[in-house]
Symmetry: C2
Subunit: 206 residues, 2 copies
DNA sequence: CTACAATTGTGAAAACTTACACGAATCAAC
DNA sequence: GTTGATTCGTGTAAGTTTTCACAATTGTAG
């Protein structure tokens, strides 16, 4: 009775959520259909219906989906009805950009700690928090019950810091370091490497 | 005789390239095997061999792959043997971080133009280039033969700027704006949205 | 009340992707 | 030379994901 839901399905849910929110807020829509949603996202309507059907029956034949209701359901599925404390590791260019990024807070991700090992950066005020010494990493992560981290340190220290994060109780890491991270199987990792993305695209540029 | 190579294969090639380069530079290796490469990347050796076999026979039984040779081949396949001029649109936090990011230059991506529409930012020196007015977008893109752009503007202007980029001749866009972009079918788009990535991971955090 | 258009949820088919497993090649050791 | 350990490239099987297509339901218009 335990249905294992494919990760590829899970990874589309935040996209649906994002577009549904936009449809409601910016276009003032109250309902939508799988066809309309798909057209806005370049995804087939059948795919959207199939994806959602893994979790329940959220729509009505003839009518479509009530946006607010579906948003609420998706947020529940993705565990977004609570707030998440997040640590940023690395107070460099990218660490600054991410810490200032308002969309995190809007979606319930609170960046409650930033760490660096550069004495020149430790103590720096960044928005409403202060850059902490890496020496305090484990202590702060435990105290603030931080389960998610964003890794924005150089590649050559990314693995060792990952190990420390995992040992300290972090369960999900979004890494911008251009290196594959080895973690235990129950730890989530997500990567972002613009160079890799650019290199994929150049293939198609004759 | 025209073999269509799956995009999912293409998207792994930059990852192989990245790790091969690392193996050569940091571990001083001259050769490697599909098994070793796979172990470093969490990918099966069969997958790596199958992927590479789409393009030719680059390895030797019993020995594996000569790293330098394979790197050279991958760079050719991905059209990385030439240099690419890149425009950054939006001189905000993220635009600054990306423009300073040295890895682009290392890989042959030259950020040769940055644009913004904020008078306070136009004229600002950013590394060795100057932030230009959006009014000059089409002219500069044409003159510098720019085919790739990185989009780091607010979501509500992302589509209209995309349309201008495409009209000006840009063929590939890496977008950080949290919105799906409508483009003609021959235009490449790649997205990066940390909120979406975080929301995927929270699903797995009970 | 009926006819019609819109739309869902879903079983089955099709398409795509990954994993398996093996012949053939290579090299080192003896 | 022969043996044994490696490793590739690939045909085939297995597994995953997407698409198709349709019965069932809903709302609207006459
Ligand atoms: N800048 C970009 O646009 C960009 C884009 C994608 C990925 N990246 C990657 O993200 C990471 C950070 O990039 P950045 O541009 O912010 O670099 P950066 O050099 O500006 O910042 C890195 C920060 O990490 C800190 N640091 C170094 N070693 C540390 C350690 N052992 N413990 C704690 N902190 C440490 C440094 O003091 C610095 O503040 C790099 O891996 C980079 O490859 C950067
Ligand atoms: N900051 C982050 O860490 C982060 C991460 C992921 C995605 N994003 C997304 O990337 C984009 C940029 O983020 P940011 O934090 O750099 O924002 P920002 O506000 O710092 O920068 C946006 C820049 O775009 C410029 N701009 C606005 N309208 C413009 C127009 N019509 N033409 C040209 N330029 C225009 C602004 O003047 C500003 O300089 C946003 O879409 C954001 O959602 C940001």
């Amino acid at each position: 009775m335990i249905e294992e839901i494919p990760d590829i399905v899970i990874s589309r849910l935040p996209i649906y959520l994002r577009e549904l929110t936009r449809l409601a807020e910016e276009e003032g829509k109250l309902t939508t259909s799988s066809h309309e949603l798909g057209k806005h996202l370049g995804i087939s309507s059948a795919q959207i219906r199939k994806d959602l059907s893994h979790f329940g029956e959220f729509g009505k034949q003839g009518t479509g989906y009530h946006i607010n209701y579906l948003v609420q359901q998706l947020r529940q599925i993705l565990h977004l009805t609570r707030e998440w404390n997040v640590a940023v590791i690395g107070a460099g260019y990218l660490g600054h950009a991410l810490t200032h990024y308002k969309a995190f807070l809007d979606q319930g991700f609170h960046i409650t700690a930033i760490f660096d090992n550069d004495p020149a950066k430790i103590g720096e005020q960044l928005d409403d928090i202060v850059v902490q010494d890496m020496a305090d990493l484990e202590k702060t992560i435990t105290e603030l019950n931080i389960k998610m981290a964003i890794l924005v340190v150089p590649a050559n220290v990314a693995q060792e810091i990952t190990d420390r994060l995992v040992d300290a109780g972090v369960r999900a890491i979004l890494s911008y370091a251009p290196i594959y991270l080895k973690v235990p199987p129950d730890i989530q990792v997500s990567y972002s490497d613009p160079v890799v993305q650019m290199q994929r695209m150049t293939y198609y540029l004759a």
